[in-house]
């Protein structure tokens, strides 16, 4: 019988939540790497037993962990992330030049075809690749070197490369997002890059429609339709129908178009999920009601999904990497909160139940659908 494995990264360790295809009874394993911040855990699409985890702490820096048995055992692999050449500077919060400094890995994106190839999005923003299962890492420095790098500025959480989208139909195309620089696309497997932010408007920067400088929080794509991208920006939910060449707003009737997480239904490419957050200064749901919003029309028209979610006195946040879907029928949707809850829905968001309630603050949620 098929099953799911939910990989949860938290402020104080990683947890693996497992269930059969009914998604009613769950087992919880962890904490793995207790006491360490786990920004992200993700499995290889080519080998579901191969997992990678980003483990870090303010004391001891970055560690990358690899599992070859679905998370039962782990081994530390390479943790040297060295910028290519002279790192140069980006802008600091006050607009002054600041040297590029590695802080941590925010996101790990394994290749769709090779379990030993994995990409890492890091702070200060850069993209690295490993072709030896995480033992060594090389920067794809064309991203920082394409010209606009010295003007990039950090968002409140740091200048992080947090989203890596690999095109399942074109191995040469990659799209990444950086807070607060924006979206960048490569059509030659990461050698050269160009900004892909046309149509974004951001009131927080001097030129609201600038080529770079937008605080993009998260991108999502359905694998059957890689030219369609959805974006949760600092403010605004956006859509591109041409692989990031241009964007248009689809916030429509959302109660707030501020938020972090966004994802797409596994079987319905026009069904999109977001979790509206009140504002950039109020990082909790409007009215203290935790609601996922779903659009079945690819945006603009949204419906609240609240059954099983707290509808009073709820002031948690849902971070950018903390929502994922499984590919069972019907589609399961999962998200984690800064209050330590992981909620799951086995019916595409109509009904929610907490899988766990009392984890440390959740940083990331990924799902593996197992045969």
């Amino acid at each position: 019988m098929s099953g799911v494995r939910v990989l949860v990264g938290t402020r104080k360790g990683a947890f693996v939540l497992s269930s059969d295809g009914k998604r009613e009874q769950w087992s919880v394993s962890g904490p793995h790497f207790g006491g360490w911040e786990i920004y992200h855990v993700k499995g290889s699409p080519a080998d579901p037993d191969r997992l990678y985890a980003s483990q870090s702490s303010s004391w001891s820096g970055q560690v990358i962990q690899r599992s070859n048995d679905g998370g039962s055992t782990w081994e530390p692999v390479g943790n040297q992330f060295v910028y290519d050449g002279v790192p140069g500077t980006h802008q600091w919060y006050d607009g002054t030049p600041h040297p590029w400094e590695f802080a941590r890995v925010w996101h790990l994106e394994p290749s769709m075809t090779d379990p030993d190839t994995v990409y890492a999005g890091v702070e200060d923003a850069a993209l690295f690749r490993s072709s030896d299962a995480g033992q060594t890492w090389q920067e794809l420095s064309g991203l920082r070197g394409h010209g606009s790098g010295p003007s990039w500025q950090p968002g409140a959480g740091g200048m992080c490369l947090h989203t890596i989208i690999l095109d399942p139909q074109d191995a040469a195309r990659m799209t990444v997002a950086i807070s607060a620089a924006g979206v960048f696309r490569s059509d030659d497997a990461g050698t050269t890059w160009r900004p892909a932010n046309r149509g974004l408007r951001s009131g927080e920067i001097p030129q609201s429609e600038a080529e770079v400088g937008h605080c993009v929080h998260r991108l999502a794509m359905h694998p059957s339709r890689p030219d369609v991208l959805f974006m949760q920006k600092h403010w605004d939910v956006m859509r591109s129908d041409d692989a990031g060449e241009s964007w248009h707003e689809i916030s429509g009737d959302l109660p707030s178009d501020f938020g972090f997480a966004i994802d797409v239904h596994a079987h319905e490419p026009d069904t999109v999920y977001v979790v509206p957050i009140t504002s950039d200064s109020l990082h909790y749901p409007p009215e203290g009601k935790l609601r996922v919003y779903r659009s079945r029309a690819g945006g603009d028209e949204w419906e609240p999904l609240a059954k099983g979610l707290p509808q009073r006195d709820c002031y948690v946040n849902v971070l950018r990497d903390a929502m994922a879907v499984d590919s069972l029928d019907s589609c399961g949707v999962y998200f984690g909160t800064t209050g330590g809850q992981v909620y799951g829905s086995a019916d595409a968001g109509d009904n929610w139940t907490p899988i766990v309630r009392d984890l440390p603050a959740v940083l990331s949620v990924e799902v593996q659908t197992l045969p």
Partner: protein
């Protein structure tokens, strides 16, 4: 034989006990002890000092014989009691909250 005491999170990472023992040739220094530690426990590379610059990480401290040696030069000799194995070299996570 040099004795090194590790903080809890690094013991877990290195899959070892609170105190480890290392062979260090010549007069031990911070650098030679940490080099030997990283050779014996490769998982600790980059966690006590930066892999590239070899600088002590900001929130790591080195104590021995009730002295804070964190700001000593990396090639300065460690106290005789550490060199003789009478006292351990402590690697400590600074009190930095969290």
């Amino acid at each position: 034989m040099i004795r090194v005491v590790l903080p809890p999170h690094l013991r877990t990472l290195a899959c070892t006990e609170r105190e480890v023992q290392l062979e260090v040739e010549g007069s031990p220094t911070q650098r030679s002890v940490l080099d030997a530690l990283e050779r014996q426990y490769p998982a600790l590379r980059g966690t006590i000092r930066d892999s590239t610059t070899q600088q002590r990480r900001a929130f790591m401290r080195f104590f021995a014989c009730e002295e804070d040696l964190s700001h000593e030069a990396p090639d300065a000799p460690l106290p005789d009691a550490v060199a003789r194995g009478a006292e351990p070299f402590h690697v400590v996570g600074a009190m930095a909250g969290g």
